[in-house]
Subunit: 406 residues, 2 copies
DNA sequence: TACGAATGTTCGCGCAAAGAACAAACTCGG
DNA sequence: CCGAGTTTGTTCTTTGCGCGAACATTCGTA
């Protein structure tokens, strides 16, 4: 039951049903390909004539293509339909503190080429570098296929409608309009998004076909900070000021270590990679000293994970302590949003076998009901490049989204 | 951007645009009544002919009626349209621990009659009592007007689709199907809903016309427990198991008083009315002893509020301490959901002048940004019967909601 | 080779959106 | 008092799409 916003509504026209049914059909093909027109007619409960009509439109738009006919037990052999993905390209860009990754993918998120370079913090210089590299990538690997856009994933708060980066402390960006210069330099449609939200979008839109696709879940990223992408009713929750989902700064205790946000006892102060590494080094977490300490010690979170997997006691203890607090934080998410699952991303997921039992124990101890305690907690390994998949999703998803009506 | 659920979608038919535009038109009349056809045509950007056509349909359905013509500076005088509310009735029922309230209202939520009786905990006996009272109310105050349904508001978890009360500890109900027996006994459509969610729905659907209607907000109720109704993108968030919004059991500190949920340091253990009264009485909060203590002392939350308003130091201190923790709890809501406003309901709102500055101070100290710190916190006084308005909204809202498409 | 069965296409009907034309009802100025 | 101008509301025609029925196609099988 949704309320109609009378200040900003979309009226239905004569073409609205067509628009809606085209989109439904496209999504059915996406999730059941290969699929015949007759099967689509059955699933949509419309006549086969209508399906012919709609598919013709989608094929002429280049959204679908028709494969070969296929054997069937009796009767005319059906002609299978597919979503056109392999010859539509997307450039996904992941800007991180140290490195920037560029991946050329097809429309379903399959990687075609990947490269990286040291992150350039000046926005315009970054645009120039990207222009050069994207052109080279498309020339060498594009094979003349059409590029549909570029998805830029940024570690910070983004106004998705304008593509303006509101605040990305790791890059030193505040109120930077990166979309317009990028679009002008590249001649491509550009979408900019916050990293955890992009990861959540990839999960929702580029999941394995056939797998149950969650429409109510939370994606939690554990890296230098704790970020999250919240999806409710199949839509991302942004909140008033694009600042929804700041579970990282939910306090787990009064007092506790000082956090970068100025508060005390924040989830992030216990579970960020900085916190985990400094715990491993035997230091208390305090924002002023920790960065230097961690940097000078030359120990990274990857090292701690590796040593924990080799069962080095101090590393195991540091990670288990992180898991303990993370479990407490996830319990808060479960209580407030009751998602069907929580996805956890970040380097520490490599040691999931160590973390999972601790996290599960903490959640069970805190959950209000057995069902809530059983909420699946799913790791997403960094080796699958979730942020780059997110970049692809930024461009691909709008082509499959429900039209906005009423 | 919403994902289409291919397992459960609604295909558009030839009549879909009509359905959508009828609903948009109805909502425009609702928020701008009295309004002429010509003005509607301008707002919807359709021809006046279309409006005549659509309004004729809505008038024949009994959703709108046409008032008198009205003066205009020049040209033909417009005929004003109104939503038909005064001769469509709704019964709202608020089942609470001690008393049950029944209110007969019109479709816009205006009270026609109100009565109450001691709550009957046996579901079937309650149904029988309601049958008797509703029949009497309609006979004495109905004046032959049609009753469109009954909205039942319950202090507990409800599966809104089936109308089953999953768990209402105050009533001792677990898995009680109250809707079907009520519908059969009364011959009326019945909707059952959790109290804070119903309050949120009333806020969204029965707000003053003209006022900016929030589509992203949280309604927090402070009574024996802390409940909440969360609205995102104009839709209620229910979560996996109808257990979203349990902000009452978010821990504010490690350790702290034991809560009824078994946890420690829950928001509810600091800010429920039980906690406030026991604090006033000088007792620590612990679930076993507190109920007896509060009961035997004969001091109610209303007494504490009254004494605080008379500036009795102990009462003021008890309430300010409650406000301090409530502010910390609301800060968590702001961080996680970033709503455009938070509405606070419950007896303690009578002393809002004492609470507001403390709550605001606590939020400011914890908020991540200035904008977040400025999130409006709005009290809703119990004298406006928010739960009964919620009951009306349960029946009225579906008639105005956007049709589910795609 | 005829028949049944399934897929895919074509065609005609009916309904609603869209917009133009028309009717109605008022003000104002001569 | 009457006509021009203006705004509202209705009616009528055109257009396009959903929808179902009929038709064409292509297979297996008797």
């Amino acid at each position: 039951m949704r309320k109609i916003n009378t200040r900003s509504f979309v009226r239905a026209t004569r073409w609205t049903p067509r628009e809606i049914n085209l989109q439904i059909l496209l999504n059915l093909v996406r999730e059941h390909e290969p699929i015949s027109r007759a099967e689509l007619a059955r699933r949509m409960k419309i006549g086969r004539g209508m399906v012919t009509y709609l598919t013709a439109e989608l094929i002429s738009q280049g959204a679908l293509y028709q494969g070969d006919t296929v054997d069937s037990p009796r009767g005319r052999r059906p002609q299978m339909l597919y979503v056109r993905t392999h010859d539509r390209l997307v450039v996904a860009v992941d800007v991180r503190f140290s490195s920037t990754f560029i991946m050329l993918t097809d429309f379903s998120g399959h990687a075609i080429a990947l490269e990286s370079f040291d992150t350039i913090y000046d926005p315009l210089a970054l645009v120039a570098e990207l222009k050069h590299r994207v052109a080279r990538l498309l020339a060498s690997h594009g094979e003349g296929r059409h590029c549909e856009g570029l998805g830029l994933v940024v570690p910070g708060m983004v106004d998705a409608t304008t593509g303006r980066v509101l605040n990305a402390p790791q890059l030193g960006w505040r109120n930077v309009d990166i979309r317009k210069p990028l679009e002008e330099a590249l001649g491509l449609a550009v979408q900019v998004e916050n990293a955890p939200i992009a990861c959540a979008l990839a999960r929702m839109w580029l999941g394995q076909p056939g797998a149950a696709v969650p429409t109510d879940f939370v994606y939690v990223t554990v890296s230098d900070g704790i970020g999250s992408g919240v999806v409710v009713n199949g839509q991302v929750v942004r909140g008033q000021t694009n600042s929804a989902g700041e579970f990282g700064h939910v306090p787990l205790m009064d007092g506790g270590p000082l956090c970068l946000c100025g508060g005390r006892g924040c989830l992030e102060a216990f579970t960020s990679n900085l916190a985990t590494v400094s715990r491993y080094l035997g230091a208390d977490f305090s924002p002023d000293t920790v960065r230097n300490l961690v940097h000078s010690s030359n120990v990274t979170i990857a090292d701690v994970v590796t040593r924990a997997l080799a069962r080095e006691p101090r590393a195991v203890a540091a990670l288990e302590e992180t898991a303990r607090h993370l479990g407490a934080g996830l319990a808060v998410i479960i209580k407030t949003l009751s998602p069907t699952q929580i996805v956890v991303g970040g380097e520490i997921t490599e040691a999931w076998e160590l973390l999972a039992p601790v996290i599960r124990r903490e959640i069970s101890a805190r959950a209000l009901t057995d069902l809530a305690a059983a909420t699946p907690i799913v790791p997403e390994l960094a080796t699958t490049y979730p942020r780059l998949r997110g970049g692809t999703a930024l461009i691909a998803a709008p082509r499959f989204a429900a039209p906005r009506i009423a």
